[in-house]
């Protein structure tokens, strides 16, 4: 049952912090969140040990019945899901601990919401990882999207942050749309959503049907992992708080896409065409994001692009058939990417959340030794230098690329070289060189407190040590592959070359950086604008959409609907005015007036009879009597006659 606790603890903490956060307080919420994360990690260890011995499934309850198929919600623990869950909970709880220090300036301003969202994020990710059916994965998928939207836009008083949150949400929606259709097609093809049952039926179904549905599923992964062409939200998501970026890039969210493909790998294997697409998208993104990272100057965006690039590596690995290598790279990447983000976050905290441009730091290594050491360890791991963890996983992936095709291998080495260059460019500019912040920032930056440096140290140690678990990991996954010495030498040399170039340019000053950028302006702008894809989306697609909606609004709403209504009411008004004039004024009013005037005039004539002379009255009396008598006599005569 400890497997259930792994996923339930974040949910319970989410409910507690979300509902009672105002009473617990912001610091209390942070501590509770961190404790929940660690507890979840502790429960995941015995679960992992059990799952490695024998994969097991926990059926929780029946969710819905469709026709003669009943969907049972449950959890599935095998070596893939349980190890991923352990990594996710460990990295997430270290980031939670760090965020207590990072969000300190926000305490007292409803920061408990932040912790509630973090818990929701972790819970959704664990739901993706541990679910045994595609619908559960979809719920987690959407939950991750929601939590990332809330967290990226957490600084909601900044327009940039809310715009980025919206962009992330909309981009993910495109991917989720594919994913949903993928799930529907899987249900139509296999007649079930249970992963284990699907694996059992893969051989019985035609491969082109599987190809279609896996392509749709991969569309969801592209959106979630920020791969080309749904990538622009990932660098913009850096508008959120740094722990969110670390969580987003290391443990949750972007890893969900890679994990989903790895989870459903038997299905993907049955569709070789889809795997080619996966490899192509991954390879393009790896190169593309690495080039974009070389020309950005935002301290967090460079790391964001490196995530995109590394995820591209993993997709390339998945597409070329090395699922275990990709998943191992995902694991090591989680540690060193979280480490890089946390050290960047420390620098941001030291400069009071005001400075983000790397050229405005410089020479920080003496002031912030722990952050500097952490960044260097993370950067060495990312560059794939022996014996850091990145070396083991990356080397394995590049070896797999070379096994499939020489071209992919060369691209892998090239991306490795660029990666080493851009990450050390950032490191040298921020931590070495001249102290460019003098005169801009008021006081000297100070090293962050223990609550933030302890997670960095732990992650730094992990970033070094996890690589040595490669043999154990591959053994658990049931594959064995020898280390290619020549590939290892080539990739390490490429990494060292990248570091060397960055060192020569940014520390030694062999090339004047300003002049170099001047002469390579076109190339620099192209990389910086991500080959103008962001401009294309923002200026052409979004702008065109707005223009076409405005046109449709002007044509449909303003012209057709409003025009019809205005015309109707105007013509009705005219008809009523006409009726009013013709009927009321000309008939009724004139009738009344004529009657009144007639009465008035008749009265004036008749008043003359009233002479006031007694004799006249007597005469009228007589005439009246004579008249009445005459009528009576006439009538009597008629009656008798």
């Amino acid at each position: 049952m400890e497997g259930l606790f792994v996923i339930l603890i974040p949910l319970v903490v989410f409910a507690v912090v979300g509902l009672l956060g105002r009473r617990i307080g912001d610091l209390g919420s942070g501590i509770l969140t961190t404790l929940g994360g660690f507890l979840s990690f502790l429960f995941s260890i015995p679960t992992t040990i059990r799952a490695i011995e024998e994969p097991f499934q926990i059926k929780l309850y029946e969710f819905i019945t469709v026709g003669d198929y009943t969907l049972k919600v449950g959890l599935y623990f095998d070596e893939l899901s349980s190890i991923t869950a352990s990594v996710v909970t460990l990295v997430a709880s270290l980031i939670f601990l760090y965020s207590i220090g990072y969000m300190e300036h926000y305490f007292g301003r409803w920061a408990y919401k932040f912790y509630a969202y973090l818990n929701l994020f972790l819970f959704s990710m664990l739901l993706i990882v541990l679910s045994d059916n595609l619908l559960g994965i979809f719920f987690g998928w959407e939950g991750v999207g929601l939590a990332s939207y809330l967290l990226i836009g957490y600084y909601h008083e900044q327009k940039k942050a809310t715009d980025s949150a919206l962009e992330a949400f909309v981009m993910n929606r495109v991917g989720d749309w594919f994913f949903l259709f993928g799930i529907i097609s899987v249900f139509l093809i296999f007649g079930t959503l249970d992963i284990v049952e699907i694996f059992g039926k893969v051989g019985e179904v035609e491969s082109h049907l599987i190809g279609l549905s896996t392509l749709l599923l991969f569309g969801g992964a592209v959106g979630k992992s920020g791969q080309v062409p749904l990538h622009t939200w990932l660098p913009n998501a850096m508008a959120g708080p740094t722990p969110v970026s670390a969580l987003l890039h290391a443990a949750t969210m972007v890893a969900a896409g890679v994990y989903m493909v790895a989870r459903l790998y038997p299905v993907f294997e049955a569709a070789p065409e889809t795997l080619k697409v996966v490899a192509l998208v991954g390879g393009i993104t790896a190169l593309f994001a690495a080039l974009a990272a070389t020309s950005h100057t935002d301290i967090k965006k460079i790391i964001a692009f490196s995530t995109m690039s590394q995820l591209g590596y993993m997709y390339l690995g998945l597409g070329l058939g090395d699922r275990e290598g990709a998943m191992f790279h995902l694991t090591t990447h989680a540690f060193f990417k979280a480490l890089l983000f946390l050290s960047a976050g420390s620098v941001i905290v030291a400069f009071h959340h005001k400075v983000y441009d790397i050229y405005r730091f410089g020479g920080l290594k003496g002031y912030m030794p722990v952050s500097h050491a952490s960044f260097v360890v993370g950067a060495l791991a990312l560059a794939g230098i022996f014996p850091f963890s990145g070396f083991w996983s990356k080397d394995r992936l590049i070896g797999s690329y070379f096994e499939v095709s020489f071209v992919w291998g060369v691209i892998g080495v090239l991306v490795g070289f660029i990666t080493a260059y851009y990450i050390f460019r950032e490191g040298f500019v921020v931590f070495w060189g001249k102290e460019r912040w003098r005169g801009v920032a008021g006081e000297e930056p100070r090293e962050v407190g223990g609550v933030m440096s302890v997670p960095m140290v732990v992650l730094g140690v992990m970033s070094v040590l996890v690589g040595f678990l490669e043999g154990w990991y591959m053994g658990v996954m049931g594959v064995r592959k020898e280390l290619h010495i020549e590939v290892a030498v080539i990739s390490v040399l490429a990494g060292l070359m990248g570091i060397g170039v960055a060192y020569l340019v940014y520390v030694r000053g062999v090339v004047d950086v300003g002049k170099a950028y001047e002469s390579l302006r076109g190339l620099h702008t192209t990389f910086r604008e991500q080959f103008f894809t962001e401009k294309l989306y923002h200026k052409v697609l979004a702008w065109g959409y707005l223009r076409s909606s405005r046109f449709a609004y002007n044509l449909g709403d303003r012209t057709v609907i409003d025009g019809t209504i205005n015309l109707t009411y105007r013509s009705l008004l005219k008809v009523f005015k006409l009726v009013w004039k013709a009927f009321d004024i000309k008939s009724i009013d004139i009738l009344i007036h004529t009657l009144a005037i007639g009465m008035f005039r008749g009265g004036r004539v008749l008043r003359n009879l009233q002479t006031g002379l007694l004799n006249n009255y007597v005469m009228f009396l007589l005439m009246g009597v004579v008249l009445i008598l005459g009528i009576m006599l006439y009538a009597l005569d008629r009656v008798k006659g």
Binding site: L609, T611, G612, L613, L614, N615, V618, M619, L622
Partner: protein
């Protein structure tokens, strides 16, 4: 005894009534008007009594007595009104009391 035919009564009555009405219409003096009214009333009395005598009944005579009583009352009230008017306005002609003219 030679009886007077009933037509003669009626003829006298009609002549008297006509004279009375004529007086009512034509004369302007208030006293004369009142006298003309008396004449018209008594013309009716003549007709009643004449008819009674002819038919040997008494209802007409009773009616005539009532009319005489009524005429007396009327003359008293009418004369009173005429005297009151005269006292206020020093007029005695209907021409001069046309206050009710419309």
């Amino acid at each position: 005894m030679k009886t007077i035919p009933v037509e003669a009564y009626f003829a006298v009555s009609m002549i008297l009534f006509g004279l009375g009405i004529l007086g009512l219409i034509a004369r302007r003096n208030l006293i004369t008007v009142l006298m003309s009214l008396e004449l018209a009333l008594n013309a009716v009395n003549v007709a009643f009594v004449g008819a009674d005598a002819h038919m040997g009944l008494v209802e007409g005579q009773i009616f005539a007595l009532f009319i005489i009583a009524l005429a007396a009352v009327e003359a008293a009230v009418g004369l009173g009104i005429i005297i009151a008017i005269f006292r206020y306005r020093y007029v005695e002609s209907t021409d001069e009391i046309t206050d009710m003219r419309g």
